[in-house]
């Protein structure tokens, strides 16, 4: 049992209102006369909401019912700093709490992962916080070949002592971890087949998904892989930037799905997007949107119960101009911890909501 989580971070604060568009709500046009998505560019999912048409590549998954959209995900007392809010998400903390360990690492606290594997998590972007903590061996690796080459320049530790010096002991242990990971990955990664369907190489996400696909088809026994797409901080002239990013996201994820179906792995993987916050409901004066609160998350995978989950935040009931969340992100994490790794975790919530997006 067990699924590998593929976490997709959308850096900068993805505009949920223009991703999953409440096209039937007249309030939407009122709030966003310039920055709103035109009705004819919305792919309706039901009579109220629809996807931005740049997300069309994901419609196949939607129709196959393995694409779930979690609406209105956020947390109480939302923080509008990029830095702080992503930290809140990554460490599954409440708004007034500073934690240093990532939520995936927290989930595995007190469990014993099979030590035969050399590495538990691979981060293909640069933010490893969700997988940071003593329970997980996490490797940050943007480029497999580069990582393996760098690790090769790092010498084997060969049993030399640290002389009882705890600082040196730590450095040597980390070096050992890198060597072990490289040794465990080297043959598998170099033997991994090229993905059947090629990823676009002109964006970071495509390259990272390519690496993720190779790790998955090479059956590297990790619990999670993380990738990221940046540039969502659309304060000015949002429309072109945002639709380009949605296109990159949809194309990448659709290609991933095809590859994993082709290699028979689609049931073993859960893809989940997240972002530090959504954006302000009302457009700003520069043709953009400012930092907001709740937003939708995408979840895809062979084991996913497709469709809309949770309630779309009401545009008629804003709080200081922002959407009120209907689902706490820690309930999403709790559902994932259960569904992917069979771990019962509440992430500090007294009563995590049971969300039905996993079959």
């Amino acid at each position: 049992m067990g699924r590998i989580l593929l976490l997709v971070e959308l850096k900068g604060g993805n505009d949920g209102l223009n991703t999953l568009v409440p096209y039937a709500d007249p309030k939407y046009r009122e709030l966003r006369p310039v920055v709103g998505v035109a009705r004819e560019r919305v792919l309706p999912l039901d009579e109220k909401v629809g996807l931005h048409d740049k997300l069309e590549p994901l419609m196949e998954s939607w129709k196959a019912r393995d694409f779930a959209i979690l609406q209105g995900v956020g947390y109480p007392y939302p923080n509008r700093s990029h830095f702080r809010s992503i930290e809140i998400w990554d460490t599954a903390s409440s708004a007034n709490q500073t934690l240093s360990e990532g939520w995936i690492a927290q989930a595995f606290q007190g469990t014993s992962l099979a030590k035969g594997a050399a590495v538990d998590c691979i981060v293909a972007d640069t933010n490893a916080l969700p997988a940071t903590g003593p329970s997980l061996r996490t490797i940050v690796m943007q480029d497999a070949e580069n990582f393996l080459r760098q690790a090769e320049t790092m010498k084997e530790t060969g049993g030399r002592g640290d002389g009882g010096n705890p600082a040196l002991r730590h450095v040597l242990a980390v070096r050992q971890e890198i060597n072990a990971a490289a040794a465990g990955l080297r043959d598998r990664l170099r033997a991994a087949p090229t993905p059947t369907y090629a990823y676009s190489q002109d964006n970071g996400l495509g390259r990272q998904l390519d690496l993720a696909t190779r790790l998955l088809t090479a059956k590297v026994p990790v619990v999670a892989i993380k990738v990221a797409l940046g540039g969502f901080d659309t304060h000015a002239n949002q429309m072109q930037t945002h639709e380009r990013l949605l296109g990159v996201l949809a194309t990448g994820l659709a290609t991933l799905r095809k590859n994993l179906i082709a290699s028979g792995l689609w049931n073993d993987v859960l893809v989940m997007t997240y972002s530090e916050f959504g954006r302000r409901a009302r457009q700003n004066a520069s043709g953009g949107t400012d930092h907001g609160t709740a937003a939708p998350q995408f979840v895809l995978g062979g084991g996913v119960k497709g469709g809309l989950h949770g309630a779309y935040p009401s545009l008629a009931d804003l709080q200081d101009g922002d959407l009120r969340h209907s689902v706490d992100f820690r309930s999403v994490f709790a559902t994932v911890a259960q569904g992917c790794w069979g771990l019962q975790r509440d992430f500090g919530l007294r009563q995590p909501q049971r969300l039905g997006f996993l079959a």
Partner: protein, 516 residues
Amino acid sequence: MTLRLDRRGFVAGVAALSAALWTRWDARAASAMGFDEARLLLSRTTFGATPAEIGALETQDYASAVDRLLGNVRPQAATPAPAWITLGPAEVRRQQQTAEAARKPGVDGKPLQITRPVQEQGRELRNWWVEEMLATDQPLVERMVMFWHNHFTSSMLKVRYAPALFRQNALFRREALGNYATLLKAVARDPAMLIYLDGMRSVARQPNENFARELLELFTLGEGRYSEADIKAAARAFTGWSIDRETGQFVERAGQHDDGEKTFLGQTGRFGGDEIIAILLKHPRTAETIVEKMWREFVSLRPDPAEVGRLAASFRQSGYQIRPLVRALLMSQAFRDSANRGGLIKSPVELIIGTVHVLGLPVPEKTQLVRMLYGLGQVPFDPPNVKGWPGGESWITTYTLLLRQQFLRRIVEATAVASMEGGMAMRPGPNRRADRRQQVPGDDSKMQMMEPRPVEGRSLRNAGGEARLGATLSGADSATLLRTLLPRPPIDPIDAAASPGAVVAAAMLDPTYQLK
């Protein structure tokens, strides 16, 4: 003759090259401290030491050297301040809005790159401090300023008003080795802190608890020594402390102050902020919190509770004089114990600034170094959160260890690529505009620059094989170079018969180079 120097063969091998190496401190001559103790002292109080700097110290008496180190210090930076430090917040905001408004799509539909004052000032501010760290003749002051910056954190990402951060840095400089009580009172009124922890928004009608919480948890007592009610009471006491939007200076707004009765840590009164601070300074935990933190900064990863208690008691009795506390730490048995050498992990700033200093590399453009610091997780003026950089073992992860080694290879390579006069060309010709673009926080390009990229046209495997030695290291023999660069014998065998440049390159890649 090829001498393989590994841990076991090291002493014998080195003895053949030079006498009396890696001596134990307790075996040293009565008054001259000797090479290794001079190196230890410098490695913990500066950004790394050259053979000449160690040589100047090794013949001195330890106690008087410590006194000289702590002696008269200049309370200002030597590097000229950026031009904008007198701008008020309203003016900075107006400039920012003007710049944002000018950001129209270019012909290709992508927004044109513009210089945004807030981001540009942040870049200049970071470069200014890096410059000061490289140029200073009193590195202990810089180490202390960094210590206080990490204790009383404020971040450019939140503050978005560089003049206040510059002034906060000047405050840390004034009180670097001064008085903690003075510092704490000044920090509570410090505009950057008032922005960073929302004090400026804290009014009687709606007190904001952010500053009060961190004052108790991080600046004084430590977690678990107070109640939520104490935080609420303290928050009320500080209401009305704010900043003037035009000048950016501290103002006390009496109309927004809650002057009602408060009960704080068992005492009741119509307390204001200063009374709260006075109560905290009477509490024995405050001194212990600072001493523990300073122990981890100067002495070792594991503070000795009995010693901490003793030092904290005298710290409090002295009225929180910082200089005698640092002196006591540097004079302590635990600090001078030879087993303590290499017992701390270099921060990214110490690693990068120290390496550049010891190699004597000229660095005309600081943005490259700041970029390395980004990757390694310590950007000056941008601590990760209010708790600051946790430091210690957390500096080294699988990710940062590989990056550290890659940066070190790149620096070694820079010695060979750049002429010693020509500066440090770590990547061919990035122009200032490109540098600026890559400094914009939250932008995807910021992430790009952290990614390990091989130096163009060179294989990483071959890069960094041999350093070209500048004035700071040339002339030293291989054994002296090793003892200069490493706090303890290397883990991996180093061929002492190789050229000095190759010995330096190998030493920098040894795990013990990460230690101080």
